[in-house]
Each structure stands twice: as structure tokens, then as C-alpha cells.
Amino acid sequence: MQNRSVKPIVILFVCLVVLSFMPFIIDPGSYKYLYNIFFIVNVTVLLATSWNILGGFAGQISFGHAGFVGIGAYTVALLHYHLQWSPWLALPLAGVVTLLAAVIIGSIAFKLRGPYFALSTLALAEVTKLIAEGWRSFTQGTQGVVVSPGPLLSIPSGGALYFVVSLWLAGFGILCALLIKLSKTSYFFLAVGENEDAALSLGINSKKYKLIALYISSFLAGITGGVLSVHTGFIDPSSGFDMVHTVEPIFLTMVGGIGTVLGPVIGTVLLVPVGEVFRSHFPTAHLLLYGIVLVVFARFIPKGIMGLFRKKKI
Amino acid sequence: MLEIKGIDSGYGKIKVLKDITLKIEKGEMVALVGPNGAGKTTLLKTIAGMIVPSKGDILLEETSISGMPPHKTSARGIAYVPEGRRVFSAMSVEENLLMGTYLKKNRPHKTESLRMVYDLFPRLEERKKQTAGTLSGGEQQMLAIGRGLMMRPKLVLLDEPSLGLAPLLINSIYKVLERLNGEGMTTLLVEQNVKKALSLCKRAYVIESGEIVMKGPSEDILCDENVKCTYLGI
């Protein structure tokens, strides 16, 4: 591998290591709220990155990420509920199960293109939600499932642990995006997103690349769902499959800069804390304020923050 | 009829046209030729109002139309037939043609205009309910020309009308253009088929890299050694 591709990976790694020491500097015990926000930011970075890989890199706008998050969340919750698995151990499986679901979802949705694809993912996500609601004997239906995370490898779960785990998961997501961006595959993603017919005629197996993007994206989104399940300690269809999990990564990615590795990170780091602070300080008006922030952002920085920079390869 | 006075034009920061001056009398047919990327399309778009020139002035019948948006220039009688078959793909053939009579003053002539176009391109009449996007390349080209003619323009800007048309059809189109010219339609014609274009038009301009490098009666241009070897391949 050339120097040029190694550098960003090293930078990412250094950042992660440095940030991992944060709990030693700022005590999670006394700044629980802060760490709660950090945690939400990390998880959302993972989710936005996941969406960006499919929607930004491969140009396949997904309206179905709530479905992936929900499946991931339920995987953890149900393994815990039925088989008493530790939610931590179930986390990777959340990714895998979601990926398996994506195999089915992809085989249906990728028969369609453009807005038809986007809307079919929305429909499929709704179907998974309705299954979670309807299959009471297995999922507890609308009542939801309680998950008690318990300690991880005998470290009690709490501020610091949540933070570090979520940080590295976000790092993992960014790494996936980075590796794609630095590889040839990113070009095929671009081609498929720009003009699928042209890509096909040039011998690019567009289906294959779309599926690759979908699988990576769904895996990461599934893990996000799993983490959410651990963090919330409770999952029900309305929270697991909440449309927010679809909409939020989309606009965070766009605010940051769609199709870039850093875009979703920047968008999330900037906006999620704002949203959280609004929500707890203005219990009734926070949506109004957040709405204004979104409108102003989009109106004045339509290309996203990364679009402000000339060189926006990463 | 049309007078262009030293215009500069381009796309944002990219300058394409440099100090173009050009004049077309009423009832004239003028050809504009030049290599790919010379700026022919850019010039037509500027006249039609799709691009605002950064310098200079454009006069139509003595009044300035420089900086006027396309819907206003078209109301003043300019029709631009774009290159590359820009048909309204999801609309039917007939709906496309009817867009040519969008201007209030043309609406009363709807049926006659349709008749004229259908006579010129019987294939379009056969396919009037077909979605324009599913037409063959040449059929789309016919549609684009037909739609422009529906506008009953005083001045028509034709951007490579013969592109992708069968030879037989090219001839009939040229005949129609000649006839309409006889009926008073002024024409600015961009063509790659230089020989054809020059045989039809009395006068021509040659444009290269955004500048007019030659102008004059068609015969003179046809005789020019430079032109001969670059454009006619003789």
C-alpha cells in the first residue's frame, strides 16, 4: 500500500487513541451528562457513516436505515431476553444479523432504482417494524424488551466504558469508510451512483457494488442498533425502528458533506450536541430551534461543510 | 434583425466567447460553423438568454435583449432549437409539440402548426401518443425541430438540426427551412455539415476558440484555403 493511503489511517488511529484517554482527563463520574452526549455523538457518527457509505459513496439513497437499526437493536435485546446473552457479546451479532436481513432486503430493493429504491427501503423498514410489533411471542410486541447490559469483562458498564466502546465503534465505521474511499471500489461506487446504465455497459457489475455498499452499511447500522439497545436498556418497535434513525443520519451527512469520509463526522459532532442541549433546555421549543438551525445551515451551506473546501476527497 | 456587439460570455468563471460581433438582417439565413468546443452552442445560448453575457450588447430589432431571460426573448420571437435532442422525455410527442405553442400569441395557431409539423415529419404523427423519451435518436431530433417551428419564430437558432438524421430527411428539413425563410423567418444555423450549411445560407461566420475568425458570403468562405482543408477535408 502506498504512503498516501496509510497516512489517513494512521491519523485516525492516533485520534482514537488520544480520545480514549479523555476519561482520565475529564472524569466521567462527575460529567455524566457530558459523557452521555459524547456517547450519543459516537453512536450517531457510526450511523451517519453507515448511511453515507450507501447513500453518499454508492449513491443509493436509503430511507430504510431505521429498519437496520431496529433489527440490530432487537438482535441484542432478544438474544439477551431469550438466551440471556450478554448484550456486549451480542453486539457483533447485531451487525451480522442485520447484514443477513440486508441480503433479503437488497434482493428486493435493488430490483428498483432511484426514488423507487429509496421508497422501497422505507417500505421494507416498515415491514420489519410491523413484524416486530406483530410477532408477540418472539419480540414481546409493542410492549418492548428490557436489556440489562451488566458488566463487560468484569468492568462495570458506565460512563467511561460506554464512551470508549462507542468511540472505537465509531472509529471502526470511519475506518470502513476510509478503506473504501482509498480503494478502487470507491470509483465503482461513484460510477454506479452517477449513471448506472453507463456503468453496466462498461462491465461494472452494478448490483455487486450496490450490494457491497448495502452490506457494509447495514452491518454498521446493525451495530449502531445493538449499542443503542445496550445504552437504552430497553427496546420497543417504536424506538428501535424510529424514523429518526433514518432521517437523522441523512441530514447529518448532508450538513457535513455527502460522499466524504469526514462529512458525517463533522455534521454529527456539530449538530447532535446542539440538539441534545436544546432538548433539555427548551423542552417545548427545541424542535423549533433545531428546525431553524437546519434551515439556516442548508440554505447557506448547501454543499455541506466539506463542500467549502476545495480538496474534498476524504 | 439581430445585432451582436462585442460580447464576452461563458460559464461562471470560464470564459468561452471573446468579443463576438455579428449581424443578421431580416429574412437572412446565416450559418455559423467551427470546430467542436469553439463556442457555437454558447453563442446561441447567449442570444437565447440562457447565459448572460459579461460584456457587450445584443440587439433584436434595435432593442437590447442582453440579459433578458429566455422566456422573454422567446416572447420576442426567438426560438432556440437546442442540440442533443432535449425533448421533455416523460411527456408525449404531442405534448412536447404543444409546448412550442406555450406563448399566448401562438396558442390560436395550435392546430395549423401541428399540421405543419406532422406534414414535415409524418413519423411524429404516427407516434403522437408515444412518450418522447422512448423515441429513437432521430425521432427525438425531429421532435426538437418540430417543437421549435411550432413557436412560429421571427428568428430561429438551430443548433445542429441535422445531427442524427437520415440523409433523406436532412434534405427535406433543409427544404422546409428554405421555404420558411421565404415566408420571412430569419435563421441562424449551426452545422457541422459545412458544405450543406453553406450551400443553404448566403452568409456565414466561422468561429474558433470563442472568436470569430472569418465572415462573409458563403462562396468566399467555401473558397478559402484554410476552411477548405480544415472543414471540408479537401
Partner: protein, 288 residues
Amino acid sequence: MITSIIINGILIGLIYALLAIGLTVIFGVMRIINMFHGEAVMLGMYAAFVLFDKFGISPYISVFLTAPIFFVLGSIIYKFLIDPIPAREREITSLIITLGISFIFATSAMYIWSADYRTVTLPFSQDVMVFIKTRIGYPALISSCMSAVMIVGFYLFMSKTYMGRAIRATELDKDTASVMGVNVKWISIATFGIGVVLAAMAGGILSPIFYIYPFVGSNFVIKAFTIVVLGGMGSVTGALVGGIILGVAEALASTFLEYSMKDIMAFILFLGILLFKPSGILGGRTRL
């Protein structure tokens, strides 16, 4: 019973179609993902509610009175917030803007009208007519019929009038449309305004048979998007057919299976139709 179920399915299907029609314009034709569609419906409901509550004007009349206001509202949003966005970014950026607007509308409605649930109870709200052994309430009947009339009217507008054709042409190819003499800036603004008006009118017409609260909009959005795609993006008749198919299918599913199965059936139907006809029921695909 089966005829009753189908008739009721058709009636509710007409309402579904009406809810989708504003989106057909903004999403189907203009390709702007309008996240505040539901909130526009909500505002339409409140407008109908206020005029009924304060002045006793029937929603079936007031929807026409408030239409100009909503037109202006939509036009302003488009002109100042969406139109200035460069074309290449518009499709995506407008999603954020409209999402922001949806938050603003919903919260503002809460401040203006409180979070209370409202309904519009017409004098004849409990009158019923019987048609082929099916009991149909007058409000439901009138709302459905008005939907049908509006949809047909709108279809005629889009396909038979110069303005309707200009709207479609503009969204297909702005440059070329402008060369045809279409004032594309104005048409785009107007189109967006019309989309908002249609959503608000749908809300007004729905108000006598539904309930109103500031966050009610989210109830309609998924269904509306589903129908727009089901019918074929931008096709008005498609939305009509899609709405009715959905209404009837839901009614049948909830009768012959369980009621809670109806939503799942609706989505399975949606996916099934799209797999069979990827461009929607009445959509076409351009060739290369």
C-alpha cells in the same frame, strides 16, 4: 359485507390519494423530498378548524378560501429557501430544509393552538346514507367525493392546460422549457405553492372525519410517499389508482386476516407491484 368493505376501501382510498396528490407535485414532479408534507396537511386541518370554529364555515368551502394563503406560504418557502440552492445540490439539500420547516411548523402549531386534540363536527356529522347495502356517513362521503373531484380536476389541469404541461416540462428540463417561453422561476415557485395548497386542502377535506393536533402530520407521510411511488412518480392518475388499490387492499386484508395485518399487507402489496412494474403502476421509463 364484502361489497361494503370494498366500497369503504374505495372511499378511504380516495382520501389516501388526495393526501398523496400534493406530494405527487413536489416529490413526483419536482423531485424535492418534501418532509413537511404532513405538516402542510396539518396546517390545512387547523385552518379548516379555525374557520369552522370561529365563523362556522364548512371545511368543504373554507379549503378554497384558504388556498391562496397556502399558495403564498409555499411560494415563499420555495422562493427564499429552496430556489437559491444550486441545482445540483437541490434534491438533497431541500430535504434538510423541508425537514427543518416541518419541525418549525409543528412546534409553532403547538404554540398557537396548544397540543389539544381538535375535531370538526359538522351538523350532519352523524347522518348516514345507504348505498348498495353499505352505510356511508355523510362527511366521509363528501370528503371522498371531493377528493375524487379534486384529483380529476388536477389531472385535467396537469395534462390539458398549458400551465400544467409547463409545470411538467419545467421539471423535466428547465432550460428547454424556458426557451419555449415558460417563466421557469415563476412556474417552479407556483408548482411548489400548488403542492402545498393541495396538501393543505387535503387536510381541510380530511378534517371532518379525522382529528387534529400539532404532530398529526407524521401519520400521513409514509402512506403518501408510498402512493406516489406506487402510482408512478408524478402521475396523477397513478396516485389515484394507487390510493384506491391501497385502500381496498387494506380493507380486504383487515377483514380476511387480522386488522393488525393491514399495514403489513399494504407494504407487501407495494413491494409486489414495484417488483412487477418497477416504474409504478402508471409510470414509464425512458430508454437510452
